[in-house]
Amino acid sequence: MLNYTIRRLLLAIPTLIAISLIIFLLLDLAPSDPTANLPLTIPPEVREKIRQSLGIGDPIYIRYLLWCKQFFVNEPLNILEQVFGWDFGGDRLRVLSWQTRSPVVDLIVQRMPQTLWVVGMSYIVGVLIAVPIGIYSAYKQYSWFDQAGTFVSMVGFSVPTFFTGVLMIVIFSVWLGWFPSIYDTTHVVTDWQSFVFQVRQMAMPVFVLALFNAAQISRFMRASMLDNLNLDYVRTARAKGMKERTVLLVHVLRNSLIPVVTVIALGVPQVFGGAIITEQVFKVNGLGQLLIIAIQGGDLPTVQTLTFIFAVLIILFNLIADVLYGILDPRIRYD
């Protein structure tokens, strides 16, 4: 397993280099102009100077290699310096956002907590809702609970979050006034009162996203449980005289979780990617919102860096899913 993991990690290096090149070339082909959002009164020659100062004039391979050096060498060194207090010396050029002129990595670090709290929490809540629903729906297949669960998951899956989000705002903020409709990023949790406020402002975005996640995962869970419930070893367990609870939660659940765990692991990168639309609806300024603003502003370094980080996460969690598969299922051996 360890050999396998190391081999996969080594294989990831050329993959990531290829991905970074593709991302870079694709974005470079896009006809976006970082100065397009500037006031029209700025004369063309000044605009051209701004572009040159951003480095757009250089040939593409120079810009690519420069970005690679900044991202793979300078930024990790910077992080090491900050975390361990070391000093590597020298003045390193960082990946700078064209819009804000601040390092992209710093922007990401600022945005990360909101995304992790809201989107991450919604993923956890979604899984916690989905797994029991999936188990019970499968166990009582075609019961009213199963029918209702299947219907809700179909609705959750097919109704987009920009609809449920706005609907929630209308019902719970406008009519009932229970929750604030805008997420306050500057809010700091210091005592019980502020904690309650934090929970209240998180409630709606978390619920909207959790419904969406739970819809998918509960269907996976249900299908996987159904696959296993009819297998012979379940009958064996009953013949052994095990309690129904044990049959269900030890024999069937453990085997059904194998594919579900991998699906859950593969979904984690989406959490970091942020929920672009939901974050917009509730004004959570997380990573998703950072990405959309950067795209609108033609801020290529930010878009490149964010997209590349998502690619890294996807490859990483694919590997984690495969390794988990091997750990959970004794029939799978990678070596």
């Binding site: 012979d232 009958r235 129904e244």
Partner: protein, 345 residues
């Protein structure tokens, strides 16, 4: 051989196992698959009752219904004097140590995520209070009894061959010292070379532990080898139940005769002269059984009465029960000398 004086260990009376069919827009109950339809039999202590029949006749369902792996539709099953149909789920669980089952597919019937030791030990944890070292000792003892190397205790089922997996299944069934074991085609999924080993193992264990078997199989020669008495099933019903030698030498029911005539003869000379009774048509659907005798659609000697009245399951000679209108009173031959040929060897 059965001893009619002693009380049977398993007493099945009027056992019915119907599976409902739901169809249409509102999934209304439109009928039943009569997998097992009114069977009665006794199994005596330390005997082996063979249950034979073609695929889909309800053998396996009968076996599962007898040890209450299904909730039976009607009838009663008494094991050791306790009527299983009356028990709630907890008391039924308490009865599980007395009755066990060896399953057909040794691969699918073992949990792929559990090691051999934990598969065998699980019923011990549930039903006995043993310390972990006692439990391990018992697991090793069982592995020895079925001829598995102790060193394999921590391996997983997929790491074994078919025969070894079936030995795991047998060890698991034996773990709680059951009195009665339903062997549901335990050798059907195995290579011929392994079948004999497993059957011999089952026989040895029967002698060693005084086990009672219900041996379900479609392999007539294997049943002849292992069973004391044999029941023949057709379309959810038992058509003939007799001591082994009687059944193989003087089959009375036309279906049994046809079934036995299909067993090939190793001697090519006598095989050449043998007549086979070839049944015409297919087995009717168990969801839509014929009126009268279930076998009337394919029976070579069927008459009008067979299509109207379901024949009673009667004792013709001591120990030999047959469900056919023509047996006993007017002996009506199938017109072929199958019976005689089979009696010869």
């Amino acid at each position: 051989m059965s001893d009619t004086a002693q009380a049977p260990l398993v007493q099945v009376r009027g056992l019915k196992m119907h599976f409902p069919i739901h169809a249409g827009l509102f999934r209304r109950h439109v009928g039943d698959i009569k997998a097992v339809d009114d069977i009665s039999l006794d199994i005596f202590e330390s005997e082996t009752l063979g249950l034979v029949g073609e695929s889909g006749c309800g053998k396996s369902t009968a076996g599962r219904a007898i040890i209450s792996l299904y909730t039976i539709t009607d009838g009663s099953v008494e094991i050791d004097g306790v009527d299983l149909a009356q028990l709630d789920s907890n008391s039924l669980r308490a009865m599980r140590p007395k009755m066990q089952m060896i399953f057909q597919d040794p691969q699918a019937s073992l949990n792929p995520r559990m090691s051999v030791a934990s598969i065998i030990a699980e019923p011990l944890v549930e039903h006995m209070s043993l310390s972990s070292s006692e439990r391990l000792a018992r697991v090793y003892e069982l592995m020895d009894a079925v001829g598995l190397n102790r060193a394999f205790a921590e391996r997983f089922p997929h790491e074994f061959s078919g025969g070894q997996r079936q030995r795991i299944g047998i060890a698991r069934a034996l773990a709680l010292n059951p009195k009665f074991i339903v062997c549901d085609e335990p050798i059907a999924a195995l290579d011929v070379s392994i079948q004999a080993q497993v059957v011999n193992l089952l026989e040895d264990l029967q002698k060693q532990f005084g086990l009672t078997y219900l041996f379900i199989s479609h392999d007539l020669s294997m049943v002849r080898h292992i069973a004391d008495r044999v029941a023949v099933m057709y379309l959810g019903k038992i058509v003939e139940l007799a001591p082994r030698d009687t059944l193989y030498s003087q089959p009375l029911h036309p279906y049994t005769q046809a079934l036995l005539s299909a067993v090939p003869e190793p001697d090519p000379v006598s095989e050449k002269d043998r007549r086979h009774i070839i049944l015409k048509g297919d087995v009717p659907s168990p969801a839509n059984t014929p009126t009268g005798c279930n076998f009337c659609t394919r029976c070579p000697i069927a008459e009008d009465i067979c299509r109207q009245i379901d024949p009673e399951f009667r004792e013709i000679t001591p120990g030999q029960f047959v469900a056919c209108h023509f047996v006993g009173e007017t002996t009506k031959s199938t017109g072929e000398n199958t019976t005689g040929t089979i009696a010869q060897h």
